[in-house]
Amino acid sequence: MKTKEEILKSFPKNPDYIIEILHALQDNNPYNYLTPEDIKLCAEYLDLPVSYVEGVASFYSMFSLKPRGRYVIRLCDSPPCHLVGSESLLEYLEKKLKIKVGETTPDRLFTLELTSCLGVCAVAPAMMINDEVYGNLTFEKIDKILEEKRGNL
């Protein structure tokens, strides 16, 4: 793992790169979020007010300002996935993980989120877990994927 200073230094000191920097800092955090310290360091590095950096971070849905699980599940909820039953998958995930959308399991393993179109509509219904995409989802497939993720630890 890189130190935060190393990450910052790999980008030019130019406010243009704020989103790239926030991506890099968040990817480096095992709990997939930006800590208050990250925001402050980014602001200092780019010579911007902390409020400005937080304003940018809170605008984009890929950034989180509170701790998330090791695996962030982002279920696609756009019309093509909706048509083939993503809503019942959401209910299933909520029941199975015993959390609601936006929440994290007590063991800090999974966070459940909704996302708009992932651009893999041909294998709808689909979801993303961190960087990986899963398609043609069914209840059984979800069971298998969650099992696999649990087993990874």
């Binding site: 130019n14 406010p15 243009d16 790169y17 704020i18 989103i19 790239e20 926030l22 991506h23 780019l46 304003g55 940018v56 605008f59 984009y60 849905s61 890929m62 950034f63 909820d77 756009s78 019309p79 093509p80 909706h82 048509l83 083939v84 039953g85 809503e87 019942s88 998958l89 209910e91 909704l114 996302t115 708009s116 179109c117 992932l118 651009g119 893999v120 509509c121 041909a122 294998v123 709808a124 993303m128 960087d131 995409v133 899963y134 398609g135 043609n136 069914t138 209840f139």
Partner: protein, 543 residues
Amino acid sequence: MSIVRSHVLISIDANTLLAGAKAVEEALINELRRRGIDKEVGVIETGPLGIIGKGVVMVVYPEGVYYGNVKPEDIPELVEEHFIKGRPLKRLMIENIITPSVVVKEEVGLTKRQVRIVLKNSGVINPESIEEYIASDGFDGLTKAIFEMKPEDVIKVVKDSGLRGRGGAGFPTGLKWEFTYKIPSDEKYVICNADEGEPGTFKDRLILEGDPYRIVEAMTIAGYAVGAKKGYIYIRGEYKLSIDRMQKAIQTAKEYGLLGDNILGSNFSFDIEVRKGAGAYICGEETALIESLEGKRGVPRIKPPYPVSQGLRNKPTVVNNVETLANIPDIVRNGAEWFRQFGTEKCPGTKVYTILGDVINAGLIEVEMGTPLREIIFQYGGGIKDGKKFKCALVGGAAGAFLGEEMLDVKMDFENLKEYKAVLGSGAILVMNESACIVDMLKSILRFFEHESCGRCTPCRVGTKRLVEIINRFANLEGSEEDIDEMVNISLVMKDTSFCPLGQSVHLPVVSAIRYFKDEFINHFKEKYCVANRCGRKVEVLS
């Protein structure tokens, strides 16, 4: 490259990787080696073949046989049958496929002619190989532009070709370039908009994954034409493979002297940088995209001034969609007349569509502008699956309109659809059969808009909320006649008063849904009846 008797092109893209394409490729290479024919049969990774929902897909040339749902355990049988015995393995063959990148032009007395423009190389060449791109006429357009044409000549060709922006608005591309060219400035920029977020659209992703050098070449030509030295491609953060491929393509092009300082030894220098989005639909709007590139919250700017005069860092900026740019190299190479032979008078060229939903062959096609919707759904899409009847199609994504059965013969281009209060939009065609519920669909669309509204202007921020509240009533088998009128009302006020195209587009699905299926809304509260049996109760079964 050694000479081989057969080529196996295996599609490596987000969809097939998901289905285990790498394991299949490895099994294939091992099996060919075991059989001692690895020198005779070449295995090549290529981009998306445009066949979707069939797992790992590959095509064998010269026969042109397509295989789908291939698993590692199928490989011994496949090699035995196809490459040893020389007969295709019927069990895995995909028949009656719609080839992805093919335009079929039928003329009386003439045989079918196939033309590919945007998807010419997709699924044919290895997207990570610059040699293969060059071998298929790649960088010819750029070379011609730099050494044989003045910037004005390039702009003239693009103007004469009649190419219009494929991002949705359909603005003439040449005109955009000319505006930027004419404004004197020490710095100008070219931006490729790859923030593809319209629900049901993935054409730009497939172009970037399947033919990244085409976009490098096109952006460089645009830079030469308008006098820019720097280009940015803004790719949505979720498109990991597209980002990787594009970064590699830029790097390799630089090593070959096709990008960077003094391109091909000329005086012209141009550089491209990849930027990642972070999950905001609104950043597909060009001024919001520019704000995001500048490291700000992605909220749209007031227009005018337009980006062509004051864009990135307030400098003249050309913003073009991926598909638009993908047309440029061939237009410059072959000329405006060549391009004009395809499509319609006012909208020349082709259009890439993603056909989804209840059709037999879901996937990606490139057809001429002006192709009727019926042909797209029933010929290329193979018709409605499970023997059901066509109900309607949502054309253009969430910011598009529902088209009912009586609209099937509409010729799809920017002009014709406008007459019917519909839009071509991103080219997404979501087909619904008779058992889909329009209220349920509209609910999904309106929730999407509510989530993606950036909150800057009141009509959109509040309007999307109110619309969701109302549609939820119908979804609970409640609501009233007044609610129907109110939905139309709100969406039309939003059209007139919203700040940017997001709020201004919401009326398209709302008004068209009510125009064609008002009875269905009424059934929901009067008869407590939902055709899909989805509203008013929780669904347990997956279709």
